[in-house]
């Protein structure tokens, strides 16, 4: 027995040894590449389109004399040399090209004719989702190329291919998409448009759908405490959108979109450069949702009927000699939504119990301007002033509930930028002022309030140019409802070793919760509103105050000459005071200030790698631990998955000379189980289980670029057709006491397929 066992062990050991030797040799071989040949085909482009095979082309390792020439078929083969990385491809009459030999088959290498007058632009493929190694703050920049991967259409839909932001559905009626970061809902995020606070107050829920995607140039997502320049309201992060600018944007742009649920979108931009100093742009967006869709046959529309007209006129001023820059924006929006039961007809059924229906009509006017002056002799010193005014009017009803809000807001900010000694020590300082007037009608109850705040800030930036950089900021504000308070924010970055950095941040935030506008979905239920007044200044409640702590690590690596990126981060938001939104009693929604603890821990792990040339993988795992002390007990935040997995695969073919290309994109989202607020008090037929099932959502998009002017895209969202079985409780008796559309954990709408086109004319 013992001997056979030993024998067994020995043979296993030997087998193991053999395998390891084999593995070692294989590994050794691949690393050394002793016999590896690098192959490729060289073609020449003539007159911008015709491609011919080139023979006798010189191909040699850069910095050496080791080389070869191509044969009649344009093919070459050259032994791999570990000490060299780049191949030079040289032919008389053509432009020399130098390429990275990072794979055995280099495919077709196209040389351009020397006589072509057109400038050759050497493009390095820039990752459309940039996680910076060097930024002090944890910022993810989403450029317009990344935006093209998502279906369309507005800011709320721009985050679907981005793992830093979670997109949730706020309820089963309005179809509004909720953005979450670090396990906290969007009111805890500060939205800015070109660094001016934008989606806040009355526009908190629907505002993201008021920014057309095609107007956006890029988005900067800052996780954790933001900077102090934009105010004190950000708690879990900041999302800044930069719109296209008349001087740099395309001359003309047109986008059309349609989906299988009769949603149509129209986007156009026209820019005109008036003189060297002035340029203007006119941007127009219109959409229409015409389809009466009720696939789950609960008698309610799965997606609202809607239409929107959105117009913007921008003026840009640029005087580089004298150092003046300026912007002026005018925007007007009209948005109408109708939802509820399919049979509902607003003209006859409004405020009756014939059928349950809802209308949300919004008109919004935005005027904003910026002036900046850079001292011509001191490029590091500048003064900026910006101001914005908005008038937001929403008239709405949800069944028999009425909710109107008028929000007028003024914001202004002046910043002075300069240095202390050298550009290693920079500072920004200034003052800001905010004035908000709210006028709300909640079921006939008139609520008016005026909020103002005046503050001053100072931010210091240190860059050692080697290891350490930090941004430390401090604000002092006085608000009529928020009293006098200070807001500290600190961000640090430390380079550990090559291409690795460590980040940390701490910051405080404070805000007034607009309980009705931020939780409008409550009106689409039979829940009674219950505010536990404690004498506070906003709806009888005290403002929310929280600290956010974060730490992260990023490592970039070159594995087989392709970039691999690993990142880990952890954030904790800890509330000192909060307005708790308590959904735990199915007949009520309660608002009260926190007694006890409330925190949100979030952990994220990202892995990005270019698997083969032009095939990029992004994989993310996220874990959320969000606990709130309700009056009843401590519970996990409802409708918040504890685990989330995100995968994105993107493939692009090489660009042809005219820009022709295929782009294919897949996104997979897996959401773990979510706690559903208790429905125990309801009769058994109106109850949900305690937890939702876990589920996954799959989206894809294929883009065919025909030329630099024209492209067509086709895509699908939720193509596996995952929907919530019962999205609305009590849908057969919408005026009864068990009607509730707020417990939404999965999509309502089935697979959506869309088709769109983009046409653009560039400024020469």
């Amino acid at each position: 027995m013992v001997i056979t066992k030993l024998d067994n062990f020995q043979s296993i050991f030997l087998a193991f040894l053999r395998i390891s030797i084999l593995v070692f040799f294989l590994f050794h071989n691949t690393v050394m590449n002793s016999q590896l040949q690098i192959k490729g085909v060289v073609m020449g482009i003539e007159n911008q389109e015709k491609e011919i095979l080139l023979s006798n082309v010189n191909v040699f390792w850069l910095g050496s004399t080791i080389g070869t020439v191509t044969n009649e078929q344009g093919q070459f083969s050259i032994p791999y040399q570990t000490e060299f990385k780049k191949l030079v491809v040289q032919y008389i009459g053509y432009r020399t090209d130098t390429i990275y030999a990072n794979r055995p088959n280099l495919g077709i290498i196209r040389l351009r004719n020397n006589t072509e007058l057109e400038e050759v632009v050497v493009r390095k493929k820039v990752n459309p989702l940039q996680k910076s190694l060097f930024d002090v703050q944890n910022v993810v920049t989403v450029n317009s190329r990344e935006m093209l991967k998502a279906a369309c259409c507005n800011l709320s839909e721009s985050f679907e291919t981005n793992p830093s932001v979670d997109v949730n559905i706020s309820d089963a009626i309005t179809g509004a998409k909720q953005i979450q970061m670090l396990g906290l809902n969007s009111p805890y995020l500060l939205f800015t448009q070109e660094n001016m606070p934008s989606i806040r107050g009355a526009s908190q829920i629907y505002g993201l759908s008021f920014v057309p995607g095609s107007w956006i140039e890029s988005i900067q997502i800052t996780k954790g405490a933001g900077n102090v320049l934009n105010g004190f309201e950000s708690i879990s992060g900041q999302i800044n959108t930069e719109l296209v600018k008349p001087f740099t944007d395309k001359r003309f742009f047109l986008n059309l979109y349609a989906n299988n649920f009769e949603r149509y979108e129209f986007n156009t931009r026209y820019n005109h450069i008036i003189s060297e100093k002035w340029a203007t742009g006119l941007y127009l967006h219109g959409n229409l949702r015409n389809g009466e869709i009720d696939r789950n046959t609960d008698s309610f529309l799965d997606t609202p009927l809607a239409n929107q007209v959105n117009v913007m006129n921008r003026w840009q001023y640029l005087d580089t000699e004298k150092g003046w820059v300026g912007f002026l924006n005018l925007q007007f929006l009209d948005d109408e939504k109708q939802t509820g039961q399919v049979l509902f007809n607003p003209s006859t059924d409004r405020f009756t119990s014939n059928a349950w229906g809802s209308e949300v009509n919004t008109q919004r006017l935005d005027v904003s301007g910026k002036v900046g002056y850079v001292f011509p002799e001191l490029p590091y010193q500048s003064i900026g002033f910006q101001a914005a005014y908005s008038d937001h009017k929403q008239d709405s009803y949800y069944g028999l509930n009425e909710y109107d809000i008028l929000h007028r807001s003024f914001y202004s900010n002046a910043i002075f930028n300069s240095i202390l000694g050298s550009t290693q020590h920079k500072f920004k300082t200034g003052v800001s002022f905010t004035y908000d007037v709210f006028d709300e009608n909640v079921n006939g109850g008139d609520l008016q309030r005026t909020d103002n705040s005046l503050g001053t800030f100072f931010e210091y930036t240190y860059d050692s140019l080697e290891k350490l950089s930090l941004v430390a900021g401090l604000r002092l504000d006085h608000g009529n409802r928020l009293s006098t308070f200070i807001t500290p924010r600190l961000h640090m970055r430390y380079s550990l070793w090559d291409k690795a950095s460590l980040r940390g941040s701490v910051g405080k935030g404070k805000r007034a919760a607009n309980i009705f506008s931020e939780n409008q979905q409550l009106f689409a239920s039979a829940r009674q509103i219950n505010i536990i007044d404690n004498g506070g200044s906003i709806y009888g409640l005290n403002p929310e105050v929280a600290w956010n702590f974060g730490a992260g690590f990023v490592q970039k690596l070159y594995v087989w000459n392709r970039t691999m990126e690993l990142s880990l981060d952890f954030y904790r938001t800890s509330f000192q005071n909060q307005v708790i939104i308590d959904w735990e009693n199915p007949r009520e929604i309660s608002f009260y200030n926190l007694i006890g603890k409330s925190y949100a821990n979030s952990f994220q792990f990202d892995f990005n790698y270019e698997i083969v040339q032009n095939l990029d993988l992004r994989a993310t795992y996220k874990n959320y631990d969000v606990m709130i002390d309700y009056l009843s007990e401590r519970l996990q935040k409802p409708l918040q998955p504890e685990h989330r997995v995100f995968l994105n695969l993107n493939y692009e073919t090489l660009k042809k000379s005219e820009g022709a290309q295929w782009r294919i994109d897949f996104t997979f989202n897996w959401l773990g189980k979510q706690r559903i607020p208790s429905t125990e008090l309801n009769p058994i037929e109106f109850r949900f289980s305690d937890f939702s099932p876990s589920f996954s959502i799959l989206n894809f998009q294929v883009t065919r670029v025909f030329s630099n002017q024209f492209e067509v895209y086709l895509g699908g969202e939720n193509i596996t057709n995952y929907t919530q079985n019962i999205p609305i409780l009590g849908s057969d008796d919408p005026f009864g006491s068990f009607f509730d559309s707020t417990l939404s954990f999965a999509p309502v709408l089935e697979a959506t397929y869309y088709l769109g086109l983009r046409y653009k004319i560039n400024t020469d």
């Binding site: 910095g63 780049k86 020399t96 001191l378 590091y380 240095i419 050298s422 550009t423 140019l465």
Partner: protein, 121 residues
């Protein structure tokens, strides 16, 4: 109290304006190739005491500085830059320093320019 504070502020502001030597703009050519060179040149310059601002332009090879003339001279900057491998009209880098530069930064070799193929190089 408030008035005197304002007065002090005004005085200090006007001192800054009148002492022109504190913000002297100078520019000169520095030999180099690429983005890595740019980083090296600017970093070396800005770390010198008295240098407030440094920017090296890749196409024109021109280094623009703003210096406090009471604290340093353009020659100080040229010497410091030569010490990390980059030549100017007044200071030449020693061979042993130059030889240690990465291949894409070896500006004395005309072939090195071929390496400038996008990216950070």
């Amino acid at each position: 109290m408030k008035n005197s504070l304002l007065f002090v502020l005004l005085i200090s502001f006007s001192i800054q304006l009148s002492a022109q030597k504190k913000n002297k703009k100078v520019d000169f050519e520095v030999k180099g190739n690429c983005g890595m060179c740019k980083e090296r040149i600017e970093e070396t310059a800005i770390k010198l005491k008295g240098v407030k601002y440094a920017s090296w332009d890749i196409p024109s090879k021109k280094l623009t500085l703003i210096i406090n003339e009471n604290k340093c001279t353009p020659l100080d900057v040229k010497r410091a830059i030569a010490n990390v491998g980059h030549d100017t009209d007044k200071a030449t880098a020693k061979a042993e320093v130059y030889d240690k530069l990465p291949p894409c930064c070896k500006y004395r070799d005309p072939n090195s320019l071929l390496m400038d193929h996008g990216g950070k190089h």
